[in-house]
Each structure stands twice: as structure tokens, then as C-alpha cells.
Amino acid sequence: MKSWMFALAPLLMVGLVGCGTPPPAQVQTVEAYLQAKVESDLPTLQSLICAELAQRAVAESRTFATVSNVTIQNMSCRVDEDDTNVTCSGEIIAQYGNQTTPFPLTRYRVVQEEGVWKWCGES
């Protein structure tokens, strides 16, 4: 019985470590960006947007200014093989009056600036 448990332990350890593995930095950037967009969090958006689109940050923070109850649902992102694109599934849901408007998530470009991955529009 004991030996059986000892044999299983490494597998459990691997599983636990796997659960704690943070997603790739590109994915973290995109997910944080989308979350900040939903929350109209301008400072975070400014810190995550690439230099090329920096002037769009304010507009980005106002994407959902005319709608309410904005939430992200079932967001799942992965880095594409080329390392510079992140494809996300799921959607942002917003309400306007009684109507629900879905914004499907899509594929986003990321660029590395001074060693940090930045969101750089759709791709």
C-alpha cells in the first residue's frame, strides 16, 4: 500500500506543479489588457498597449462607455506558433437597455518592447 502511494506521489507533484504554471507572458498581457478594457482602466491599458498604438489608449478605455454590466465570459487564450499572436476564445458581454451585445474575442498581436510583451491590436 505504502509503495503504491510512493509511486503515485511524483505524478501528483507534477500535476500540482502543472496547475500552478503561469500562462505564457503573451497570454498574460492579452488577458490583462482585455480585463482592463472591460473595466475602463486607463493606467493599466496605457501600461500594456504597444508604442505604435499608444495614442489609442484613451479611446480603448472608452470602448464600453455607452453600455453596462460588461463582463468577460469563458475567456481562453493561447500563444500561436509564431509567438507574436495570441488567439482567444470566449466573449465580452455588454448590456444596452434590455439588449445584450456580445463581442467575440479574436486574435491579437503582441510585440516585445524592452523585454515586456505589449498588446498591439488585432491580427
Binding site: T63, T66, Y96
Partner: protein, 372 residues
């Protein structure tokens, strides 16, 4: 030879006068007590009432046709009663064609009687403004790009996204009544009018019309804004542009001006004729004052670029609740899913009036640009 030509001209003029005089007067009655004004709009003096059933002669109309000048004559041809009324109060005979009724030279509003300087400025612009030379230049550039002259689109929020605005023109059996002169124009633009626009969407503002996030991913390319996407997809010759309902709640006056300017510049950069419009507001709306200021900005941008403009704000002042629904944002609808102008809807429902103004603008464009 010169004398003969002169004589012929004289005879022709005589014949024309005779024909005009020979035309029987158009007799109408009202179906409810009808206020009579001294001019074609509610800023003019409301000086009399026309009782239902009383026969009066329809003498003149405004450019749109939603206001008409009426006269009641005594047997010895003296004017017993006269004034301007909204067409929707009247029983119009089936044989009436507004195309045969002279258009007045009176302005759409009496500025001296506006309630404030802001209102005065807003009333100072006609219901339909069409600077022909500028429009012709933009239109020609669009034609050189290969745009279809029949193609129009709409850009705006839910007030414009509503299928009962423009798209309804394609529904079967439109009933234009006395406005039947607009039928060739309706036929000319109907195919494009019926197509929804990716740049007219619920919740859209003059800010997010530039935001690719709001673009329909099934039709638009990556990083393409709804506005760019719509212009690429349709390549329209004309774009009806109206924002305000959402903007007043989320933007400052300066921001609204900047965004509207940007929309106009983007439209002009595509060589598309922008047709701006003021928007209706209700005094009980929490942002009413802001809305008036935004409308002034619309006039300013249109004036600055010498663009065609529909003064929907001014036109809707005469309608119940200013043509708006209970929410004081969206336009009230008649409930009919086709164009219906044989029973005065343009006097009662905001959407009916807005479509009539759009059709009138298109009709003016078609004639001024010599479109077949």
C-alpha cells in the same frame, strides 16, 4: 425674327398662366382641431384654429411637404381664414400631388420667437440644407473611384441602426400619398437603403465607431473600425451620419466635436458625401442641455465643411414628445413596417418624419446631381 421670338415667348407665358389658373384649387379638410400658424413651423405665431370638416384651399407647402399653407375664401373670394398647418392634421385628397403645390420661400422658423439663443441658432438652419457645389465635387471624386451613385449607407447608434430607418424603404408596397414625387428617388436608392450597416449599431458612439472592437468580425478585417469596414464593404456615394443619443451621456462637448470632425474627415477622405443630422432631444432628458450643445456642434461641423444637413431637431419640435419614444432617446414608430405617408404619420411619429426628411434630401441630391 426677333419680334416673332418675343411674341412666341409672350404667348407661351400667357398659356402657362392660363393653365395655372385653370387648375382647380386643392380643397382639404382637417380631421381634428388644427392649429394655424403664421409660417411653416411652431416658432411662428399660432393665431387660429381650423375646425374639422371645414373646407379650405391648400395653397403652398414647405420643401418637405409636412407643412402646408391653407386659405378659406368667402364667396366673393376674400380670405376668411388662413394659416400654416401640419399636413398630418388634414384629410388629403387622393389626387393631391405635392409636386404640383408651390414651395414657399418662407424660412422654416421665425427666429425672433425662439426661446433662447441656443434654440435660435438651432432653428436658424433649414430642415434640409444642400450646398450643391461642395456635394457635386465630393460626389464626382467618388464616381472617379468607381462608387455606385445608387449606394448610400448610415452611420450612427441604435437610433440609426433601427431597421425602420432607411432599411424600411425596401419593404413592399410603400404608400407615399401626396409625396408620390419621391417614388423615383425611392426606387433609385432602395437596394442599398435596405442593407444594414456595420457602422450603425446599438450602443455605438462617435468614439467607438473608430474602435475595431465594435466591428462585426464576420465581415470586417482585423484592426478595421466599423466605419472603415462599412465604407470598404459598401463603397457608398452618400453616408447619413447621426450621433448624439449615447454620446451625451458619455462624452464632453469638446470630445463630441472632435469625434464628429474625425468622422467627417474619414468620410471625406473616402470621397463619400457626408449627410449630417441634428438629433431630437426631449426637455425632460437628464442631458437635454448637453444635447442642445451637441446639436450646435453638428451645425458648426456641417457649416465648416459646407456639408448637407438634415435638421431633425428643428423638424421634430412640432411632433408629440418631439418624435421620441418613452425613453426620450429612440424615435417613436408608427407600427407599420413599410413607408406609409397617406395618413399623416410624419406629423405623429419621429421615425416616419425622419425617413421623409431622408427621402427629401435624397430627392434633392438626385435632382441637383442630375442622377437619372
Amino acid at each position: 425674327m426677333k419680334r416673332l421670338a418675343l411674341l412666341l415667348s409672350f404667348l407661351t407665358i400667357l398659356l402657362m398662366i392660363e393653365r395655372i389658373q385653370a387648375q382647380p384649387p386643392v380643397i382639404v379638410t382637417s380631421h381634428r382641431p388644427t392649429p394655424l400658424y403664421s409660417g411653416p413651423g411652431i416658432t411662428y405665431v399660432d393665431h387660429d384654429r381650423l375646425n374639422p370638416g371645414i373646407e379650405v384651399q391648400l395653397v403652398e407647402r414647405n420643401l418637405v411637404g409636412n407643412w402646408v399653407y391653407l386659405q378659406r375664401l368667402t364667396p366673393d373670394q376674400q380670405i376668411a381664414q388662413s394659416g400654416w398647418a401640419q399636413s398630418g392634421y388634414l384629410n388629403l385628397p387622393l389626387e393631391l400631388h405635392f409636386s404640383e403645390i408651390p414651395v414657399t420661400t418662407l424660412p422654416d422658423a421665425d427666429l425672433a420667437r425662439a426661446q433662447s439663443q441656443t434654440e435660435q441658432a438651432l432653428y436658424d438652419v433649414p430642415l434640409i440644407s444642400l450646398p450643391v457645389e461642395t456635394v457635386a465635387e465630393i460626389f464626382e471624386r467618388g464616381q472617379a473611384r468607381g462608387y455606385d451613385p445608387h449606394t448610400l449607407t448610415k452611420v450612427g447608434d441604435s437610433v440609426s441602426a433601427d431597421p425602420s430607418y432607411l432599411e424600411i424603404m425596401g419593404n413592399p408596397e410603400p404608400t407615399l400619398g401626396a409625396y408620390d414625387h419621391l417614388l423615383p428617388t425611392l426606387d433609385y436608392f432602395v437596394d442599398s437603403a435596405t442593407r444594414p450597416s456595420v457602422a450603425a449599431k446599438i450602443g455605438l458612439s462617435s468614439y467607438v465607431v473608430f474602435d475595431p472592437f465594435w466591428a462585426d468580425k464576420t465581415m470586417c478585417e482585423a484592426n478595421e473600425s466599423p466605419l472603415q469596414c462599412e465604407y470598404r464593404l459598401k463603397q457608398p456615394s452618400f453616408a447619413f451620419i447621426m450621433f448624439g443619443a449615447n454620446d451625451v451621456l458619455s462624452m464632453t462637448y469638446e470630445e463630441y466635436g472632435e469625434q464628429l470632425e474625425q468622422i467627417v474627415q474619414e468620410t471625406l477622405a473616402h470621397d463619400i458625401v457626408p449627410i449630417l443630422s441634428t438629433f431630437s432631444t426631449h426637455p425632460e432628458h437628464p442631458a437635454h442641455e448637453q444635447a442642445l450643445a451637441f446639436n450646435l456642434k453638428v451645425l458648426e461641423v456641417a457649416h465648416h465643411h459646407d456639408l448637407p444637413l438634415i435638421n431633425l431637431w428643428s423638424a421634430t419640435r412640432a411632433l408629440p414628445d418631439y418624435g421620441l419614444d418613452h425613453d426620450h432617446i429612440h424615435m417613436k414608430q408608427s407600427g407599420f413596417n413599410y413607408l406609409k405617408y397617406d395618413s399623416g404619420h410624419e406629423t405623429w411619429y419621429g421615425t416616419s418624419l425622419r425617413n421623409l426628411l431622408a427621402l427629401t434630401m435624397l430627392d434633392q441630391l438626385r435632382h441637383q446631381l442630375d442622377l437619372p
